[in-house]
Amino acid sequence: MKYIKFFILFGLLASFSANALLEVNIIKSKEDSFPIVIAPFEMIGNFKEDSDIAKIIRKNLNMSGQFDAKSTNQLTTGPIDFDFYLKHKKDAIVLGKIRQISSNVNHAEIYIYDVLTQKPLYRNKIAFTNGALRKTAHALSDVIYYALLGQKGSFNTKLSFVTVNEEKNGKRKYRLVISDWDGKNQQVIIGSDDPILSPAWSADQRKIAYVSFKNNRSDVFVKYVFQNTNPIKLPKFDGIASSPTWHPDGKSLALTLSKDGNKDIYLYNFDSKKLKRLTTNIAIDTEANFSPDGKSIAFTSNRTGQVQIYIKNLKSGKISRATFEGRYNAKPVFSPDGKDLALIHRVGKDYRLALLDIASRDLTVLTQNKSDESPYFSPNGGMIIYSTNRDNKGILSIISLHNYQTVELMQKEGEVREPSWSNYSN
């Protein structure tokens, strides 16, 4: 477990931030989480930006639900007092240094020690340019997560979501925003006076497909996230075009169209510019989502008169019903291992986030909320982000599937909704 990995992270130069930052609020307990200490990092050199890198790492690990990461009140420069940490029931301690190498390049070093054996578990060095400090903190968080749990973290990832704010003139302003997974480092990708819905990242995280009403109808657009180019509109279809979702290969997009009279799911291929119809039922078929292997889609349909979730095997063409509990199950998304679906399940008058084990059909309701929507898994499958209502305001919520700890992300003014989680960053 002892090796040094060396890679370099570059900061994004042009980043323009949204007018309202998300506030992060961890609610619920720290049950069944890994007690560790992340000491403040030793800073060697001159650093202009807010550079409490240890604080960002601690927050990341705590937000995941897997860790209870605490700080120490002073730098640890001499020998580590393992007995002190043992007495306070800490299992591991993380130390770190940031060293300025040149005017633009810095090194981050971390060392992880096992408190019980008093032995080093892991060390790692990352070089990063000025401006990439936050990204470095996320990368180091992934490193610690992997070193201590043997699983990939989801910290070096991005979110996309939609904010809705009332402007001074009384009009609503909709913004498609991307941010780091913790809601920080926000950039507005699209601003509009008309509703924006269903942003979805492509697997390579270069594109976001979304629905816009800017032409007074629902149209699907694709925006190259990190390019200053106009969004690309898909060809105009009669009726609604909505609910875009990427095939894992990134070359085609499944979407809901009503051009042939009823709402069905189609696959649009960007190379051939051709459409392939995936469902033909006269009922509403919508909210498609690809399994991670791209071989099947889960979708919402009211074909039996109830709103339920179905899975279509794209090779055999066979469609099977996935949900049997309750009268309303909608908006399915596959877990990264393809075994589960996150979905919205109606309980009485409430719409709640639930997790379905596809094989056993076991359904677990995960919240006590009134109106959950738009679930999406973190790329490691350890968390689900979704939107919900708090005091009549739309907020985002991230639930840990490890211990059901919940983290809320909200704007001071206005709503946040329609979250989607990117794959791992390169």
Binding site: I284, E287, V307, S371, E373
Partner: protein
């Protein structure tokens, strides 16, 4: 005051074509396909009266008051207020004061629309015009300075070949007309993205705004509701809804210049994308009934799902108001 007068006259007109149809309301609407009671023929006086006026300038009460009845009839027809005219068997105008008031009211609506459009920024105006389906073209310099071939190319590219008159060698014969047609129908931008034909674009938009507001006024005064409500997760058209749809069918048949946009909406419960689909189903079902009157070609259907609630709030009262289809004429 003027609204009251409008109310009276349009109710009489509209109810005359709506009542019998409703009483025959059968299970298949078959009786409704050809409503027999079309509006009474209005004597065509256009050959006898010609009224010249500056269309862009407004009327004042003083100007209208001095006009003859026949002149007022003519202006009312041109302004789309024909439905409000009450003319006796001899062709005499029976409701002169009402018509003057209606004209002034229509004028006020128009002025509001124009003022609003004038106040828009360059970019906001372009956006509005594009929303209304106007196409844009970027031209270096002015249209007048372009060669005939360049004009022909633009017209072809923008689907306006019909305006071109070419001789056997393909030379443009009607340069001035083509320039005017392009100016009236396209957003002409310079290389910096500024509108060159602001007046024409505003005029084009104003006409659309005028129709929408006029239709809303006529419907309101006739007591015809422009909103249908639905049950939870339901898009069925019940009897109450059918009656309202029939009133709109009659209204559309009597007002052939209006086109209809049906906007389907849902309440906030359930997922956004499913609700978008549900809203469209509601609007499509309304369109299906109107289709029995052969009105499909004048109808577009859109859905906003749960994105544009009338009432915000998570309670039954708000949900009831938000599950709806709105009739919007243009």
């Amino acid at each position: 005051m003027s609204k009251k007068i409008l109310l009276l006259s349009s109710v009489i007109f509209l109810s005359s074509c709506a009542t019998t149809s409703i009483s025959e309301l059968g299970d298949k609407f078959l009786d409704l396909i050809n409503p027999s009671d079309a509006p009474a023929e209005v004597t065509d006086l256009s050959e006898e009266v010609f009224v010249a006026y500056d269309d862009s300038a407004g009327f004042t009460f003083e100007e209208l008051e001095v006009l003859s009845n026949d002149e007022l009839i003519e202006i009312a027809k041109e302004k789309g207020l024909e439905d409000l005219l009450k003319i006796d068997a001899d062709g005499n105008l029976q409701n002169r004061d009402e018509i003057i008031n209606a004209l002034l009211e229509a004028e006020a609506l128009l002025d509001n629309a124009t003022q609003e459009l004038q106040s828009l920024s360059n970019d906001a105006l372009i956006e509005r015009a594009e929303e209304k389906g106007m196409d844009s073209v970027i031209v270096s310099g002015e249209l007048k300075t372009l060669s005939n071939d360049e004009l022909i190319e633009i017209a072809k590219e923008k689907g306006m070949e019909d305006t071109l008159i070419l001789d056997a060698d393909g030379n443009l014969q009607n340069r001035d007309e083509v320039i005017k047609a392009l100016t009236d129908n396209l957003i002409i931008l310079d290389e910096d993205g500024n509108i060159q034909n602001k007046d024409e674009v505003i005029e084009a938009l104003r006409e659309g705004a005028e129709e929408t507001k006029l239709a809303a006024l006529l419907l309101e005064n006739a007591g015809i509701t422009s909103t249908l409500y639905f049950s939870y997760d339901d898009s069925e058209i019940d009897e109450v809804a059918t009656r309202i749809i029939i009133q709109h069918a009659n209204f559309m048949q009597s007002n052939p210049s209006f086109n209809l946009r049906l906007e389907g909406h849902a309440d906030e419960r359930g997922t956004r994308e499913y609700n978008l689909a549900l809203g469209e189903n509601r609007a499509l079902n309304v369109k299906e009934v109107l289709g029995l009157y052969n009105l499909e070609d004048r109808i577009v259907v859109v859905s906003y799902g749960e994105e544009q609630p009338i009432l915000t709030g998570s309670n039954e009262e708000a949900w009831e108001k938000n599950r709806r289809v709105e009739f919007s004429y243009y």
